[in-house]
Amino acid sequence: SGEARQALERFLSGLDTYSAEFTQTLTDETGFLLQEADGRLSLALPDRLRWELDGPFEQWVIADGEYLWLYDPDLRQATVRPLDDSLEATPLALLTQPHRLDERFEVAEETVPDGLRLVLSPRAREADFTQLELDLTRDGELQALAFLDVFGQRTEMRLREARRNPALAPAEFQFTAPPGTDIYRP
């Protein structure tokens, strides 16, 4: 397989847990910056994840191994769905089940200025995003994750302060709804 795919394999090999900070930007098809916020991502492969976005668009996404929770502290509302069909809810779910990459995506590669890019097009027709991108260095460091939608809007997370196999408490990947939270199961 191609260089970018090998870089992804390097990233995943020996990876049990992972944590990083990120800056997320949302731009529209004209490049106009719509939203920018910082956040944190942690993973416990294969199927647990925590993603928290700060700022006015505060959001939490938690995969606890069985379910995927999307929590909005401002609304005091959480939506929950089974993990395996949660890829629709968040492209992040890809990171929880990397072994299912080819099953879910057509994989292509691009070289980008400072690294390699894996370009993933979802096989599921009704996916809400038309393309998912993983930027990696040659030696397998994940630099960024991005997803594009049908209007050309691009959500990009540039990662930093990454740590491989940090000790993470189990509670990191459990969602305990704060009091007064409405929970919805679409």
Binding site: F32, L34, F147, Q153
Partner: protein
């Protein structure tokens, strides 16, 4: 902000200043905003990104839910309005508010918001107003909606709203605007 006008005379002055402000703002047909829209209703609430681009004969309104999902794009221009959803569905109607119901399941008053978001009343429709002496709105009642303006920022012809709340019946919309840009053609 300026002291609350008490007397009828002062209210008339504030209303006049409000209309003058509206003319100054309306004189800039190209504008765009990026902000966060929160929609609270008895059922499931919704929050996400709102991007609104207006040119003199067309408008593009994008709603994006968490993780860049859900919502869709509303294109207004001429007689017809068009809705494109993220999973490729396409709808057309003459009334954009009806398309908002298709997109979000709720009646987001697009035809009113177009003006309210700039601190103006919808032309040709009766309204009730509380404004300060400079004509900057504090509270506007129109189309059954109560609109409360909380904060503004300088943006050229007039100070434009950066946080506002709209209520009608059991529906509550909160809009915080992070970026205003005036005078840039909608397409660029």
């Amino acid at each position: 902000c300026a002291a609350l006008p008490e007397s009828a005379g002062e209210r008339a002055l504030a209303q006049e200043a409000f209309m003058e402000r509206a003319e100054r703002v309306a004189a800039v047909p190209d504008w765009r905003l990026a902000g966060r829209l929160v929609l609270e209703t008895p059922g499931e609430s919704w929050s996400g990104q709102l991007s609104w681009r207006a040119g003199d004969d067309s408008q593009i309104i994008d709603l994006t839910g968490p993780m860049g999902r859900g919502g869709g794009r509303l294109v207004l221009g001429g007689e017809r309005a068009m809705l494109l959803t993220r999973d490729g569905e396409r709808y057309e109607a003459s009334d954009p508010d009806a398309l908002m119901v298709v997109m979000t399941g709720r009646e987001i008053p697009v035809s009113g918001l177009d003006h309210w978001v700039r601190g103006m009343a919808r032309p040709g429709v009766p309204f009730d107003l509380r404004a300060d002496r400079s004509g900057q709105p504090m509270r506007l009642f129109q189309d059954g909606w109560e609109i409360i303006y909380r904060t503004f920022e300088d943006a050229g012809p007039a100070r434009l709203p950066t946080s506002m709340e709209l209520t009608r019946g059991e529906m509550n919309l909160r809009l915080t605007i992070q970026r205003w840009q005036l005078g840039v053609p909608a397409g660029s």
